[in-house]
Structures are given as structure tokens and as C-alpha cells.
């Protein structure tokens, strides 16, 4: 099991204080910088491992950064605090973005990121709760994280605890039926403390979602299952901060976040072949240059 990085924890707390206290422009500056840092880490990790899911990592980054940078009630020094907010990345193949976000938040040292997918590294290609603090449940096979998140939210309700539960889902992942079982359960039990965020980048491994198996009208689907639905630009930290506020209806909240797969690197953006393609040395340089502007 990796352990907390004390210096990173200090940086995490200072950032959270600034995000809470500053005006909108200040918040966006903080979260924007963290997103750039995470994206640069992701590119380096995938370059080091020569493996990874760069397209989805870059599309989900701003969602993860907003959660860890401005929303989740978590403490990197107490990753198993009983009253922590629960966060689950159901699209576990985007582990690199999660690991980078956790390391930039002090859950473990940044230096560990260079071991991504190396032999015996705690940083497997998919996240493992027994090795990485901040990971609540092992994901990878799609359609697993959402039912587990429903269980977490039910636990809070049964025990009368105040914590919230967040789950981030891929859009292609919604083709798995287990998600809709979970959506029904959450609505039936009025799990207002549960928020599901869909990383709606409109691409899956082999093609566009709408060519593979149609998801639209996606917001209507969530609404018809009994959820409060919020649509946002999934790369706008300000919109995400608003959308991630607690439920106002007593119902669970679905945030459909419109994103661009590969966001931030022009030649990767919205291109199906970059689902898990690995950039060559020149492309890594070009990507890091774009991500330093």
C-alpha cells in the first residue's frame, strides 16, 4: 500500500483553501493549473509505460481535478476516514488520470507515477484499493463502479452518516446493463447523496458511441430513471463546480459532462484511434509543449 505524501498533503490543503476562498477567476486559475499538471503527468506516465488510455485520461481530467481540487471532502492523510466522501472511477482504464490526480493531491508521492504499469508497481493498469490510497474499489471491467457507489450511498443512508458519494462513468460504459440496474436502485432508495458524472466524449474503443450502440437521448434516459439531470461543459471547472453541488430535489444527481476525448492535445482530440494508442517521442514532445501553454 502506498502512503501519504506529507508535502503533497500541505499543497492539497492550501489549494483547497484557495479554491474555497477566492473569486471565480481565482478558482478557475487554481483548477486550470492542476488540470495542466495532471495532463502533463498523464502524458509522461503513458510514455514511460508505453501503455495506457490517453484519450479517456485527457477527457476525464477536468472532472477529476474539479472533484479533488474543489469538491470531495477527503483528507490524503486519512484516506479511510469513515466519514470521507466516496469517489469511484468506474471507467477504470483511465487509471493514469486518477493516479496523477491523487498524487498531485498528496495521497502518495508524485515520484511513484514513474512506476505506472512497471513490474510489481502498485500502479496497475487499473486501480486497486488494496495498493493505492484514495481508490475505493477496484475497477476495470466496465459497469462495476456504479453499483458499488450505490452501495456506498446506501451505507451512508442506513448509518445516518453525512458523506456524499461520486462515481465517474464513461459514456460507452453505459452500454453495460449493470449501470441501469444501479440507476434504478439509486432512484428507488432516493439516494440524494449520490452523484454520477458521465464523461460524455462520444467515442468508445472502436467508433463513435452513436454508431456503436446509440446512447441518445442520454439526459432523457437518466431523467426517466428518476434522476435529477444536469448538463455541463465537462472542461469548464466553473460549470463543473456548480453541477457537483448537492441534490436540490431529494433525488440522485446525474451530471452529463460534454467532453472531448484527448482534450488538450490537438492531434489527439476527438480521434477514435487515440483510445489507447501510445504517442511516439516526437508526439510526446509536441503534447507536452501544447500542455505548457
Amino acid at each position: 500500500m502506498l502512503t501519504t505524501d506529507p508535502a503533497g498533503t500541505v499543497r492539497f490543503r492550501e489549494r483547497r483553501r484557495r479554491v474555497a476562498e477566492e473569486d471565480l477567476a481565482g478558482r478557475l486559475r487554481e483548477l486550470g493549473q492542476l488540470s495542466t499538471d495532471v495532463r502533463r503527468s498523464v502524458v509522461r506516465m503513458i510514455d514511460g509505460a508505453q501503455l495506457g488510455h490517453i484519450g479517456g485520461d485527457l477527457s476525464v481530467t477536468d472532472i477529476l481535478v474539479t472533484l479533488f481540487g474543489g469538491v470531495l471532502a477527503v483528507d490524503p492523510e486519512k484516506p479511510r476516514d469513515p466519514d470521507r466522501d466516496r469517489f469511484i472511477l468506474s471507467k477504470g482504464h483511465c487509471a493514469a488520470a486518477l493516479y496523477a490526480t491523487l498524487a498531485h493531491s498528496g495521497f502518495f508521492p508524485l515520484s511513484e507515477l514513474s512506476t505506472f504499469m512497471a513490474p510489481l508497481s502498485p500502479l496497475n493498469g487499473h486501480p486497486n484499493r488494496r495498493k493505492v490510497p484514495g481508490v475505493e474499489t477496484n475497477t476495470g471491467p466496465l459497469g462495476h463502479g456504479f453499483p458499488v457507489a450505490v452501495g456506498c450511498a446506501l451505507a451512508a443512508k442506513v448509518a445516518g452518516r453525512p458523506y456524499r458519494t461520486f462515481v465517474v462513468l464513461g459514456d460507452g460504459e453505459l452500454q453495460e446493463g449493470s449501470n441501469w440496474e444501479a440507476a434504478m436502485t439509486a432512484a428507488h432508495y432516493d439516494l440524494a447523496s449520490l452523484t454520477a458524472v458521465v464523461d460524455r466524449n462520444r467515442l468508445q474503443q472502436g467508433a463513435r458511441t452513436e454508431e456503436t450502440k446509440r446512447l441518445e437521448p442520454l439526459a432523457d434516459k437518466w431523467a426517466s430513471f428518476g434522476w435529477e439531470v444536469r448538463g455541463v461543459d465537462g472542461h469548464d471547472h466553473g460549470e463543473l463546480l456548480s453541477a457537483l453541488r448537492p441534490s436540490t430535489t431529494g433525488r440522485p444527481v446525474a451530471v452529463v459532462a460534454d467532453t472531448v476525448k484527448g482534450k488538450g492535445v490537438s492531434f489527439i482530440e476527438d480521434r477514435v484511434e487515440w483510445h489507447h494508442k501510445v504517442p511516439n517521442a516526437a508526439q510526446v514532445q509536441a503534447a507536452l509543449e501544447e500542455l505548457s501553454r
Binding site: R130, E136, T137, N138, H144, V148, G151, M184
Partner: protein, 326 residues
């Protein structure tokens, strides 16, 4: 001797009642105990639990993948969930959730397979849970316990609740007599020796234990001493008891109300073959869908009776006399 070897005067029990009673007793003492089911409140015998603890009975409806995932989430939230469903649907429909959400996560989720084996008889192979022992035994870190009577069912519920990891509990529905001595230990990797014959060992789990005892009686009258072991845990298996049996008796017969592809017999054979080869007979269902019939009929059809065990022991002994073992 008939298929149902238990004399009519012997009292038999449906272990679901013991399961429900012990779960209620446990939940009364421990607020972390919750039950999770898939519309199976009745068939899991959880009606009384729901009356007593309405907030702690989670019914996810007919949705087994959700069932196991929700159970794992409740464990992450600090509860000890007893996730209960008919064995075939729990272990078949939700295999990947059992592997990933319960076992790989290392969470204290207790997966309760109700009405396992051939218990659903006439409902047919869709409702038989005979593959479960093979499937569950293949999953790392998952304990697989098969209580043989109400006494062991109660002990299994207690043990699983205290175990810091995932468990598959197979709760018998087919009525069985009591076969466990009072205050017998219930521990992973520990079998119970019920008779001390020295010629052949019969290793059984669950509903087959009482039949193994009946077979031992018949064989004793014929001058064949049988050591009956109630193995209880298919995983972790009592490896020491298996090796002792291999060293001290002429051969081993295993018997389980399950397929023979990967359950008790396969586990025992794997040890015996590598450490101390002796003749074996593996009784169970040999990769076959059952015909129509009641549970009692099907057990007889597949030779999972005292008579079937007696025949297997005789066959093993005869083979051994002809030098087949060496």
C-alpha cells in the same frame, strides 16, 4: 437401501431456517450486519429479518450484478453485508462482480447461495447450482464454505461475519439430519472427522455428509472401515487431513452435490496427485445437464446416495486388491 438413506424417524432440517435465525441473532448484537437480496426475501427466509430490521434489509430487485456491487459498496461503507440469492443466479450472473467487487477488493462480503446444488429439482438445470463450487473455488481470496446441517450453518454465519475477507456460503435447502457434534470447531481449512475406519476415506460436504455416514455403516457391516470427513471448506481445504487420508487409508472417495470439474473432488485430487497418489473416486455430476425430476430423484439419478458411495468404495477397494493403485 433407498435413495433417501435417512430413516423416516430421523429428524431432518432445511438449513435456511438456521441461516435466518442466526443472522437475526447476529444482527441484534452487531449493527454492522445488513442483508442484501434480489427480490428473494421469501426464498432467502429474510421475512422476519425485514420485520425486525427494516432499514437493514436492502432489496435491489431482480438484478444480481447490482446485488453484489451494492453489497461491496455497503462493505466500503463499514457494513458486513450478507448478500443472499438463489445460488445459480448469485454465482452465475454475478461471477465477475464476485471476483472483482468482493474478492479482488478483499472486502468482508458474505455471499449466501440459497437452494444450491440440485435443490430446485424439477425447475431444471437453469435453476440448479452445481457449477458454483467450481466457479467460486477458482477465485482468489474467496473462502468457500459448505455447511452440512443447521449446527454448521449457524457456525458458518458467525464465522463469515467475523472473517476479514469475502466468503461464499452454500446454504442447503434439501433437508438433512444433524451430523455435527455439539461445539465442533468451525474453522477454515479444518475438516471434521466423523468416523475412524482405516480402510478407505470418504470426504463429503453439505448434503452429502449424512449419506457418507450411512454408507460407512453399511460398509462397516461388510468389514470395510471408512473414515468419514466432513470437509466443510472447499477453499481453503484441509490439506493436512487429505494427506493423512492418502497416507493412512487405501484410497479416497469424494462426494459433493456439484459438478466434478472443479469442486471438492478436483481440489482433493490436485493435492493427492502431486503429493501422495492414491486411488480416488470422485462422485458428483459429471458435466451433464440433469433430466426432469425432484431433488431426491436427481440425487439418486447421479448416484449421490449412500448406495452410490458404497458402490464407489467397493469399486475402489476391488481395484486396489487387483493392484490398480500401484
Amino acid at each position: 437401501m433407498t435413495a433417501d438413506v435417512v430413516p423416516e424417524t430421523t429428524q431432518t432440517y432445511d438449513c435456511r431456517q438456521a441461516f435466518a435465525d442466526e443472522l437475526i441473532a447476529l444482527a441484534t448484537e452487531d449493527e454492522r450486519i445488513v442483508a442484501v437480496c434480489n427480490d428473494s426475501v421469501g426464498s432467502s427466509n429474510l421475512v422476519r429479518f425485514r420485520e425486525l430490521f427494516p432499514d437493514r434489509l436492502i432489496n435491489v430487485g431482480i438484478a444480481e450484478q447490482d446485488l453484489v456491487g451494492v453489497g461491496a459498496g455497503l462493505a466500503i461503507g463499514g457494513f458486513v453485508p450478507f448478500v443472499s440469492a438463489a445460488g445459480p443466479f448469485l454465482t452465475g450472473r454475478a461471477t465477475e462482480q464476485i471476483k472483482t467487487d468482493a474478492a479482488y477488493n478483499g472486502l468482508p462480503v458474505v455471499l449466501c447461495g440459497q437452494s444450491p446444488g440440485l435443490a430446485y429439482g424439477e425447475l431444471g438445470p437453469t435453476h440448479h447450482s452445481i457449477e458454483d463450487l467450481s466457479w467460486m473455488r477458482a477465485i482468489a481470496d474467496l473462502a468457500v464454505a459448505v455447511p452440512a446441517d443447521p449446527e454448521q450453518t449457524r457456525a458458518a454465519v458467525r464465522w463469515a461475519a467475523a472473517h476479514d475477507g469475502p466468503t461464499y456460503l452454500r446454504i442447503p435447502r434439501f433437508k438433512v439430519p444433524s451430523v455435527t457434534p455439539r461445539d465442533a470447531p468451525f474453522e477454515p481449512g479444518r475438516s471434521l472427522q466423523l468416523t475412524s475406519g482405516g480402510d478407505v476415506t470418504v470426504m463429503a460436504v453439505g448434503t452429502m455428509v449424512s449419506r457418507a455416514l450411512a454408507a460407512a455403516e453399511t460398509l462397516c457391516a461388510e468389514g470395510v472401515g471408512v473414515r468419514v470427513l466432513n470437509m466443510t471448506f472447499v477453499e481453503p481445504l484441509d490439506v493436512e487431513a487429505v494427506l493423512r487420508a492418502a497416507r493412512e487409508t487405501r484410497g479416497i472417495v469424494t462426494v459433493e452435490e456439484a459438478t466434478t470439474t472443479g469442486g471438492l473432488g478436483a481440489a482433493v485430487a490436485g493435492i493427492v496427485a502431486q503429493k501422495h497418489p492414491v486411488p480416488m473416486r470422485i462422485l458428483g455430476v459429471h458435466r451433464e445437464f440433469a433430466p426432469t425430476g425432484s431433488a431426491a430423484f436427481l440425487l439418486e439419478h447421479f448416484g449421490l446416495t449412500a448406495d452410490g458411495i458404497v458402490s464407489a468404495v467397493r469399486d475402489l477397494v476391488a481395484d486396489d486388491r487387483h493392484g490398480g493403485a500401484q
